[in-house]
């Protein structure tokens, strides 16, 4: 496969970036998208140019490191995959592919395709936990049975990998899907109920402070989410929030 790549190059957070065009050849359909970028970088290094910086680590779709806005979509054209699991067989010989970083005020560009997603960490630090010490003296794990449906729903919310695709997909750069997934995981478990009132308020406050936009229910986040996190979580967080605020 022969491809034309248009890639966002930006030297540093403060530098001005621009799109740059590269030609690449010999791409195989079995390669992952990031392996295609490896080939490009190897070429660039051999030519004495500076390779393209991008975030990646596990390359099996679970660590949430990789990002990339590919042809205008977070994680590219395939559904329910991260960029590292996107394979080149989804593209055709002669295609032009546009590759940009995730765009959001709260995700400033660090270099080339790498953005700073530490806002997500701070939202979780504001309350995304259950206050229990690791004493080893907690009650037996089976002391509190949990209805399977709730346990499963909590799990599905917890499958969020914190990649930020929801923010990149949203025209308002809202982090509601991410935050609501974290709120939901705990809200659905009896262990999480104790601190529910404070948790949702603290996390939402931090989310707003970080400069994420509001949710206007377009649902783009759910479609682009590599883990299929459901919009229901946003509804649940809104309920939790309203009930928390009314409690005072």
């Amino acid at each position: 496969m022969k491809l034309t790549l248009k890639i966002w190059r930006q030297e540093s957070a403060k530098a001005k970036g621009a799109m740059k065009t590269y030609q690449i050849d010999g791409i195989d359909g079995d390669m992952s998208f990031l392996e295609m970028l490896d080939v490009l970088n190897e070429d660039l290094i051999n030519k004495g140019e500076v390779p393209v910086e991008f975030d990646h680590d596990c390359r099996e779709g679970i660590c949430g490191s990789c990002s990339l806005q590919i042809n205008g979509e977070p994680h590219g054209p395939d559904r329910l995959v991260t960029t590292c699991q996107l394979h080149m067989r989804k593209f055709n010989d002669g295609d032009t592919i546009t590759i940009e970083p995730f765009r959001a005020t709260a995700f400033p560009v660090i270099q080339d395709l790498i953005v700073d997603r530490s806002a997500f960490d701070r939202i979780q630090q504001a309350g995304g936990y259950i206050s229990v010490n690791t004493s080893g003296n907690t009650v037996d794990a089976n002391a509190i049975p949990i209805e399977k449906q709730n346990a499963d729903d909590s799990f599905y919310a917890a499958t969020c990998i914190g990649c930020g695709a929801c923010v990149a997909a949203c025209k308002n750069a809202s982090a509601m899907l991410f935050t609501s997934a974290k709120v939901s995981q705990f809200a659905l478990l009896p262990q999480g109920e104790v601190e529910a009132t404070e948790r949702v308020q603290n996390m939402v406050r931090q989310m707003d402070l970080e400069g994420f936009g509001n949710c206007t229910n377009t649902g783009a986040c759910e479609i682009e989410c590599p883990k299929g996190i459901s919009l229901e979580n946003i509804a649940r967080m809104n309920r939790e929030y309203l009930s928390a605020v009314s409690k005072g």
């Binding site: 679970i62 979780q124 259950i130 907690t138 009650v139 089976n142 499963d152």
Partner: protein
């Protein structure tokens, strides 16, 4: 042999840990506020240790190269975590978990450590549930279990195929609580480049801010290394791209002994290599062996036809299939330990029965599981005479519920539907049992430098059982290290803050800068990946699933040669003062090029086969591993030498008082 003190407490095995906890010194809460601890790595071991140490009152600094602690590679663990809860009432106990782990490790681990691991395993599950980890549950609301290789009970707790992520998010949430309180200061996108010793004690690290390139000094009263394993020495492995040995290797260079480097786990069920472009390998959880049956064609001509694309696996009749694990190991069948399953796959492929284009793959087939579950589900749903299609539909649903995300992952990578056609799998490097030598307290041979999780060597012997890595990481971090480190720190309550302007810090920083300058000043013939791939090929071909003296010697020579070439000719573009992925990789590969040679040396020195270390010269007539307990029942702990083949061997004799050492049999 005398200088390695394992510090195993006296007394009967089952009481050692309790007694030890009662005997060691404590630090009072007011004094803990004056003590700093550095934790390098934020996976299950590092994250849980950091959170617990901060809860106890110490000032903790964490370091990880990822942009968030939540992305450490523990996250990729799929199948589950073991605990001797005996919720299934199938006869499990602490002793049985201990026994299975020692036997699974082929009698090359330390009894006291393994027993402690089994003992605290149940606490881990209680703790994680209290933290909100959403484990799989049954309809009655209680926790579900499944079975893993090398055991005869169901003791594995799981969260679908992503137990690692859920447990790591638990540890990360515990960290977040402490970050919010100001007790943990996280340094993300930072890499440890050196360990700083003052008066022979670990007193800090030199780290690089991976965004700005700034070299930083951080001091502490103790340093915990929880930086994972070194599987990436093989280039292709199931490790994350960034997983590396740098933190451990820097400590090794500064005096920490490195134990059993040749003990590597080659995991039997990974997606086979598809081409030269491949950057990493993807695991398919061992849990799949609960329901999947492994086979190759019984006839060579069928295997050849499949490789040529003329025959489909579904067209091969039942009697023409060789379910070789069930045939060779009737008692454990498809659930033999990983080393045994991997070697058996290699044996069949080497004999010409492999199935994909390269001939290096075997089938993992879910058809009989789908039918079995389908029939059961049909009955539950009141359908006494289901059609074949109905049975398939019911069964597929059950399998999807259990392994859905793994099947999806397979389909995305291979472009084939594993519900319809059997998966193709082949062994791949997955985990390293070797690591920094530690005593019972998890302290390395450098006072004040501790190692936890995969970074240490202590619990898995020569082969790790499935679902035990998560258990060990969390056991070390939540329940062992926070206690044992107190004993050491109790002597530091009057020390005060460690200054970073000492000559020791000056020297360490200079060493780091010199090394980086040297890396950047290579002649620029080849990229870092060029060297890494070459090293990987040597390792896989000569230090992989089976090894022999001649090839190990060749590997040592070739690696030494490659290392020399690397330092002269590597090309690292960009600058030191900015984000520079190539420079990061170069530093890591430089360490792998030393470790690789020591690895081969260790394998060459160990004239026996045990667990994941299989020497062709030492096998039974049936091709099983042949241990030599008389001469090799010891831990190899290597003292650093810049010429790895000259490294000095220290031996820790392994003593088995509570378990009868015998030939491992899964027949």
């Amino acid at each position: 042999m005398s200088e390695l003190k394992s510090n195993i407490p006296d007394g009967p095995l089952a009481q050692k840990w309790t007694k030890h906890k009662n005997d060691i010194n404590l630090v009072n809460p007011a004094n803990k506020r004056n003590i700093d601890v550095i934790v390098v790595g934020t996976g299950l071991a590092g994250g849980s240790a950091a959170a617990t140490l901060a809860e106890l009152g110490y000032n903790v600094k964490t370091f990880c190269y990822q942009d968030s602690p939540r992305r450490a590679h523990s996250i990729a663990a799929q199948g589950g975590i073991n605990a001797a809860k005996n919720y299934q009432g199938d006869g499990d106990s602490n002793y049985r978990l201990f026994y299975d782990t020692i036997k699974g490790g082929d009698y090359r681990s330390r009894e006291a450590n393994v027993y402690r691991l089994a003992e605290v395993s149940s606490n881990i599950i209680d703790q994680c549930v209290a933290q909100g980890v959403p484990f799989a549950r049954e309809y009655g609301g209680l926790l579900d279990n499944r079975s893993f290789g090398g055991v005869l009970v169901s003791r594995t707790f799981y969260a679908k195929g992503q137990t690692g992520q859920q447990l790591l998010l638990g540890a990360y949430s515990a960290m977040n609580r402490q970050i919010n309180r100001g007790k943990i200061q996280p340094f993300n996108r930072h890499e440890m480049l050196d360990l700083v010793l003052v008066d022979g004690k670990a007193r800090g690290i030199i780290a690089r801010d991976l965004v700005t390139g700034a070299i930083e000094r951080h001091s502490a009263h103790a340093v915990v290394l929880a930086s994972g394993g070194y599987g990436n020495v093989f280039f292709l492995s199931t490790n994350a791209m960034g997983s590396n040995v740098m933190a451990a290797w820097r400590a090794h260079r500064r005096g920490a002994y490195f134990a059993n480097p040749c003990y590597t786990q080659i995991h039997p069920t990974c997606i086979p290599v598809s081409g030269d472009h491949q950057s990493k390998l993807t695991l398919m959880s061992e849990s799949l062996r609960n329901d999947g049956r492994i086979w190759v064609p019984a006839k060579k001509e069928d295997a050849e036809a499949i490789r040529a694309g003329k025959l489909k696996p579904t067209e091969i009749k039942e009697e023409d299939r060789d379910y070789y694990l069930e045939r060779r190991y009737p008692a454990f069948g498809n659930l033999v330990p990983r080393d045994v399953a991997s070697r058996a796959a290699k044996e069949r492929c080497d004999a010409g029965f492999g199935v994909n284009k390269t001939g290096e793959a075997v089938y993992l087939d879910f058809k009989s599981a789908i039918i079995r579950y389908g029939k059961e589900e049909a009955l539950i749903n009141g359908n006494q005479n289901p059609t074949d299609q109905e049975v398939y539909d019911y069964g597929k649903k059950v399998v999807e519920n259990k392994y859905g995300n793994l099947f999806q992952m397979y389909e995305k990578i291979v472009d084939e539907d594993p519900y319809k056609t059997p998966m193709m799998i082949y062994p791949a490097v997955h985990y390293t049992m070797g690591g920094l030598w530690v005593d019972y307290n998890l302290q390395t041979t450098i006072p004040g430098c501790y190692a936890a999780g995969e970074a240490n060597f202590s619990d898995h012997g020569a082969n790790r059982l499935g679902a035990s890595a998560l258990m060990q990481g969390l056991a070390d971090g939540y329940f062992v290290l926070p206690y044992t480190i107190g004993d050491y720190l109790s002597k530091d309550i009057r020390t005060g803050k460690i200054p970073t302007d000492s000559p020791e810090f000056d020297q360490a920083e200079k060493d780091v800068r010199d090394r980086m300058t040297k890396l950047m000043s290579g002649k620029g013939t080849h990229s870092v990946d060029y060297y890494h791939k070459k090293l990987g090929k040597i390792m896989w071909n000569k230090c992989g699933m089976s090894r022999n003296a001649k090839e190990l010697q060749e590997a040592m020579d070739e690696i030494a040669e490659l290392r020399k070439d690397f330092w002269e000719n590597v090309k690292v573009p960009g600058t030191m003062d900015s984000k520079n992925a190539e420079l990061e990789k170069a530093g890591r590969v430089a360490d792998f090029l030393e470790l690789g040679e020591l690895f081969a040396k260790d394998a060459l020195t160990r004239n026996e086969s045990c667990g994941g270390h299989f020497r062709e010269e030492y096998q039974t007539p049936e091709g099983e591993a042949l241990r030599d307990d008389e001469n090799f029942s010891f831990v190899s702990a290597w003292e650093y030498n810049e010429n790895p083949r000259e490294a000095k061997l220290h031996k820790e004799e392994l003593v088995f008082e509570n378990i009868e050492v015998k030939t491992r049999s899964y027949k």
